[in-house]
Amino acid sequence: MAMVDVRNVTKVYRRDAEELVVLNGLSLQVQEGDYAALMGPSGSGKSTLLNLIAGIDKPTSGDVVVAGTNVAQLGETELASFRSHNVGFIFQFYNLIPVLNATENVELPLLLTHLSKAERRSRALTALKVVGLADRATHYPRQLSGGQEQRVAIARAIVTDPKVLVADEPTGDLDAKSAHEILDLMGALNKDFGKTIVIVTHDPRAAERARTQHHLEKGVLRD
């Protein structure tokens, strides 16, 4: 069964009278436990596709079925609930909350659950341990390197044990060594924890780590 099933999706942005077709009848399947890379030039629609899979945007037409749920048919509140239960999002620029330390940043998605404070803290620390940052639990983002910040962001993405991890250029802001470490970590999450991963990248080395690669151009797949 496909964990991600994108069916004939079109995404059109309207700016004043102008219409911009970003995705044009695109279909894509990512199997459960797969590690898929979306590649393509700027403006090809790969980030838009990732946003649709993550449920932070909705298609103009077509269906996006993730973990058995057609996110295209969900309302705003259901979509938020869907994201919190099914999707872990990793940003290019980490997007950690600067006033929260590593543990508190990782704990943030758990505030939406019914877990007790102690349980939330315990899970956040476990997630930090998984990404190798247990010793930086009380550090604030400004006290961490870029690679460490991204690891905290990954811990935040996995702390709710989502079915799908989506990453938008996760190594785009990192030096080669840190990028390598992050890619190792994502590989381990896929291999050891069975996470389905969809990654958008320009970096061929990052794409090579994925099991399947999909190339987009002008809103359609060129496999």
Partner: protein, 407 residues
Amino acid sequence: MKFLPYLLKHLRRNWFRTTLTVLAISLCIFLFCTLQSVLAQINVLLDGTSAKRLVTRNSVSVVFDLPMAYASRIQSMPGVERVAMTNWFGGFLPARKEGKAEDSSTTDWSNYFPNLAVELEPFLAMYPEYQIPPDQYQALLADQRGCVIGRKLADKFGWKLGDTFYLESFIPVHRKPDGPFEFVVRAIYDVDPAKYPGTNTNWMLFSRKYLYEGTGQTLRAGTYYVEVRDADKAGPIAAAIDGLFENSDAQTRTETEKAYTASFVAMAGNLALLLNGIGVAVTFTILLVVANTMSIAVRERRKEIGVLKTLGFTSRQVMGLVVAESLLIAAIGGLLGIAGSRGIMWLLTNTPGIKDALAGIGLSEISLQPLVAVLGLGVAVFLGFAAGFVPALGAYRARITDMLRTV
């Protein structure tokens, strides 16, 4: 509650801005509570007045006196029930004892209370709210040194019937050459607080005759209290009294007791309007300041709001967080303002000199009423909500992809 630590952390993000915003709100609430407390106390004073009672004073100022001959002329006017001559004594405790006239430095200003020399029979007849047992009333009339004091005053000094004390006035013409006036407590008046909620029981009244004779029979009338038969005719009668003395050396100004008390307290203009005007202006200004601050705070965190939504926070939750943050700032500011207001009122009513000045205009018991404090907190909460709502609505409506795109 689980979001509270998150909110508190955000408040510390820009502690300087947060502190200034909290201080702005606290200043607003401080002013609101203090001004409203002053107004409440003035209203208590005014509520204790009667529409049937008029006060006639010198048209120039209350500090200038009037001829005693005016009494009979006012009394003879149609619609006038009775007239009582009064003089503001201005006595202080504890004063010099008889025979120690040379020592005038012992005047104690810290225990000042209002004291008035009146024509006892007509004056007390005008004040049915003063409940005096008949035997005490007779004893009061029988003893020229006798005085009647309110229950609160009796409790304050522990005075009982028959106790004596000395008072000396700060007004030179109210002093007698051989020392201060001696008074004997002959009556204690009570007031039914349910029936007459604004009536003070911290006054002292004594016979004007005692003052008149003690000061060498040169004393003129300070004010005339006039009771009219029909409250509806108080206005025309007041005008008629002033018309009667229009061409005399000492022209009069007659007004209702309420207006007289209000002018005596406020000394100028419509104090309530002025104070409320200041309060509204300050509140509105602070609202704009806080709204602007919250807008900036939300604009700075557009990306962060996008992240929260990506993590699964609903738009409503994000909106709630923004409003809650604004409310938290407002509540802290409000509580600080209330505490400050309470503190300043305590300071005013417990600082010698200031306390006495307040007592002189009937504001000695000014305090922060619970209702005013609750209202103050309500204003703070309103400020917080109003200031946070628009930025929160923006956060509510914003699309995640637009927010994340923010640089």
